[in-house]
Amino acid sequence: MEILIIGVILVALMAYASTKIKNAAKLAYEQETFTNEHFTIIKPEQFIIPVKAASEFDFECYSKDFAEDEAEKFNQCWAVVRVRDGIIKEETETFESDKIEDGVTIKTFCKVLPDNHLNKSFELEIFLLPEYQEKYSEGIDLMLKSFALQ
């Protein structure tokens, strides 16, 4: 009887812990507004901001899902913000381009925000595997529109 009680308590504790972990993981993929000293951006649903010790970026987020087949090492979509010294574009500019990495075509959406006061440029780059365009088009629009200097 005692063993049964201990067993039930253990199962209940495991179920509680598992639910807590699942909820925390779910929260990490929800839409949220990211802010640092200089800029703000909305991270869309289905994306996660990683906690990495060393990163060259001031912001980065990745889609939950990876691509398939020959592109399996790539996330379906990801975005980074880097700060560059100097003004690389005189005015805020958004443009698209394509690149090929390891034989995989990647669509790039870029928005550059110049800050004349700091003499720096804040560059948002969103990378998308073209076959997932429909899935992420809203999220990409949201990131491009929300990316702004403070």
Binding site: E37, I49, Q150
Partner: protein, 157 residues
């Protein structure tokens, strides 16, 4: 003899790595939202506290040397809007390993922030995620950069 030397080497490597890692880990990042509660449609305030042990310092957000990794803070939230903060001013200190003074934080460093709570009737709590990355150094050497994540919550009244 050879076996003992290998063992000694192994313990030294593991011990040193452990000590270095433990040292850099001793910086604690805590934070809170003022009064642990906020009112709908108002501006809330909060702070992050970096507690840096006496033997360490971390590079400030503008360490004055391009070789030093700056302290960076990112705040994100699903509920609150217009999060704003400013880094505190660091101290210019000259170290043995650098020709120029480096701007650093030491002791207890407080980063204050503010935010707007939306006028949403269903909103019961707000949660702000803080990501703090920093590089800790002693007077002689710098440790690999670290990143810490903490969550701050407050009730909505």
């Amino acid at each position: 003899m050879k076996k003992n030397a290998v063992k000694l080497f192994f313990f030294l490597v593991v011990g040193t790595a452990g000590a270095l890692s433990a040292n850099a880990q001793t910086i604690s990042v805590t934070g809170s939202i003022q009064k642990s509660s906020v009112k709908r449609g108002t501006t809330g305030k909060g702070s992050l506290v970096l507690s840096i042990p006496a033997e360490l310092h971390i590079n400030s957000s503008k360490p004055t040397s391009e070789y030093m990794i700056p302290t960076k803070v990112g705040l994100s939230s699903r509920e609150v809007k217009n999060i704003k903060f400013r880094y505190p001013k660091g101290k210019d200190i000259k170290f043995d390993f650098s020709e120029e003074a480096i701007n650093v934080y030491d002791g207890k460093t407080v980063i204050k922030f503010s935010f707007t709570v939306p006028q949403a009737p269903k909103l019961k709590t707000v949660r702000i995620r803080a990501l703090v990355s920093y590089q800790a150094c002693t007077n002689e050497l710098c440790y690999p950069p670290q990143k810490k994540e903490i969550f701050l919550t407050a009730k909505v009244l």
